[in-house]
Symmetry: C2
Subunit: 346 residues, 2 copies
Amino acid sequence: MRPGHRYGLHRVVEPEGTMPQPAWKLDNSMELYDNEILIDVETLNIDSASFVQIREAEGGDPVKVGEHMQNIVASRGKHHNPVTGSGGMLIGTVRQIGQQLAGKIDLQVGDRIATLVSLSLTPLTIEEIVKMDVKTGQVDIKGQAILFESGLYAKLPDDVPDRISLAVLDVCGAPAQTAKLVQEGDTVVILGAGGKSGTMVLYQARKSAGPTGKIIAIEYGEQGCAAIEKLGWADVVLNLDCTRPVDVLEAVERETEGRFADLTVNCVNIPGTEMASILATRDEGTVYFFSMATSFTAAALGAEGVGKDVNMIIGNGYTKGHADLSLELVRESAALRQLFETKYGL
Amino acid sequence: MRPGHRYGLHRVVEPEGTMPQPAWKLDNSMELYDNEILIDVETLNIDSASFVQIREAEGGDPVKVGEHMQNIVASRGKHHNPVTGSGGMLIGTVRQIGQQLAGKIDLQVGDRIATLVSLSLTPLTIEEIVKMDVKTGQVDIKGQAILFESGLYAKLPDDVPDRISLAVLDVCGAPAQTAKLVQEGDTVVILGAGGKSGTMVLYQARKSAGPTGKIIAIEYGEQGCAAIEKLGWADVVLNLDCTRPVDVLEAVERETEGRFADLTVNCVNIPGTEMASILATRDEGTVYFFSMATSFTAAALGAEGVGKDVNMIIGNGYTKGHADLSLELVRESAALRQLFETKYGL
Ligand SMILES: NC(=O)c1ccc[n+]([C@@H]2O[C@H](COP(=O)([O-])OP(=O)(O)OC[C@H]3O[C@@H](n4cnc5c(N)ncnc54)[C@H](OP(=O)(O)O)[C@@H]3O)[C@@H](O)[C@H]2O)c1
Ligand SMILES: NC(=O)c1ccc[n+]([C@@H]2O[C@H](COP(=O)([O-])OP(=O)(O)OC[C@H]3O[C@@H](n4cnc5c(N)ncnc54)[C@H](OP(=O)(O)O)[C@@H]3O)[C@@H](O)[C@H]2O)c1
């Protein structure tokens, strides 16, 4: 076997000298380097911002969405949406382990795992699209993927259905960061609170802020809001379009009596919601941008533009213990689990 | 006078419902609303990431660069570079103050001010390009601009030359944030340490980290590095291309004996330096992205991709006291002032 670089640099085709994530193109030949893991892929979970973009570009036609995905992989060697810049993750079965890793890691051939690194840096082939779920962005395929030595993964648990593990692990950075950021008594605003990451953040925020905290959930659409109301974790549920910042500003101002949020978590899957996040937050408060549709410049210049001294955090998909924490939440809360079961028709 | 909205919403032409910064197009008619300030513009300081992009697109030709700028303003009503998303700022003289503001703010007609909000949200007209400095991105024009009620500004000081105030105030968020983030004894890595924001961050980092701190300055090119060496504020100066993350990783690993940076500040003006910033930083350390060429997804997914649990901050251009702090630095340090004088040929 050929020796590989810890970070997968040996797979970068262009531009030369970059890392696999920012690279335009990766070598996705499935011949293994000595520190790689080869995976037979079962299901891709396309990042929500990416999937929405593809679905809209193809008018929701499942066949065309599949072709669109195959074209991305054919041209880049990875499922790295050139418009949104984001990826997603996958589950599959370990087929082969490079000789430099075998015996040194807690994986065996045959183990079923979820990758915890983005598809935007994962060498991938798609032989065939087996099942396309245009509602959820979970796509069963025949294909293979490569995990680098530095790549994180989680073994799939026995007690949680695969589709739920896949969905939960895709967004597991969000509740884990929420647990770090929320203090007892905090006022927390969650944008896109009815989505996958949004509901997990909502549950965790309620836990961390405790009964003296105030949790404001914002979601667009009556159905989504009704579902959040039913969970009972939010003190206030607001039906608002987060691309309309002034609506959000006014509602949060009213609900907090002008104090605004200590922490705002953005879990929306469409562009143009930076200003709503900033305006919902108090001076010297924190905005946690988990959404991959966030524009760096819109956030930086938007905050400056309204003279708002807020701390703005880029949602790193990784933080220690994130996978375990999020699976624990689904085990702990029957309501949370049921919500995911309904989403994935289980 | 027509009544205006505090945040300038009345100037948004499209898309409807957005704020002036993310808006595609603003109304730049120079007829004042009652809470606006009209400015006769003297000089624009185009954001470095934006100016580099325009200059390269026009092969460095000053006339074409000027036309390019005028086209941006003609189509958007503001100098909001559609490629980089960034703006810059301006200096000029107050010509008129809306009746709702007059007497309530510390400005008089005739005062000379710098705007502290981005050009990407400032209604602007350019009648004529008077002088184009393709080296620095400072452009003297005949034209006018509007400041909203919520817009920040600073009166130009008498004891600092205008061009220096303009340059310093454009990047004043960076040293102010550095002062907040650096603790005594910290190891700080600065990328693009020879630029305008870079040198100010370098000076402030040295001050805040004290003699027990370790400051590592990274800049590309021998000349720039020699200039930094001469200042004497960095413990180590490295001549490296920050678009090559592994080079940066290895050098910082060596210089810190494997401990890496507590804080990394990115002050580079070109794309593709997210990974270098992340890899230079220790686990649970902080990356402060001041660069407007930062890609949100490249940062978020890049950190996850290498399993790096770092805190990543979006460089908010505003923080309390930022203008005063940065002007004070230039007053305090003759070397810093001289550096800016040389840059602007004073
Ligand atoms: N940082 C990371 O590592 C990471 C990892 C994974 C995902 N993400 C990002 O996190 C975000 C959320 O992901 P997810 O999987 O939780 O997505 P999701 O399940 O699709 O949830 C998105 C939510 O936002 C709501 N929404 C859409 N437009 C809205 C609007 N205008 N105003 C208010 N709410 C609106 C959606 O409502 P409807 O369903 O009614 O449209 C939905 O409830 C995405 O941008 C994704 O890219 C980041
Ligand atoms: N967040 C905010 O509010 C805000 C406000 C203003 C500016 N900014 C951003 O901050 C950044 C810096 O602005 P500035 O005005 O300080 O810019 P600047 O004076 O042009 O400095 C940029 C520095 O980066 C160096 N550099 C270029 N390519 C490099 C590479 N490959 N490796 C290492 N160093 C490299 C440059 O060296 P050479 O000169 O030799 O090319 C220069 O010293 C820009 O991206 C700008 O858009 C942000």
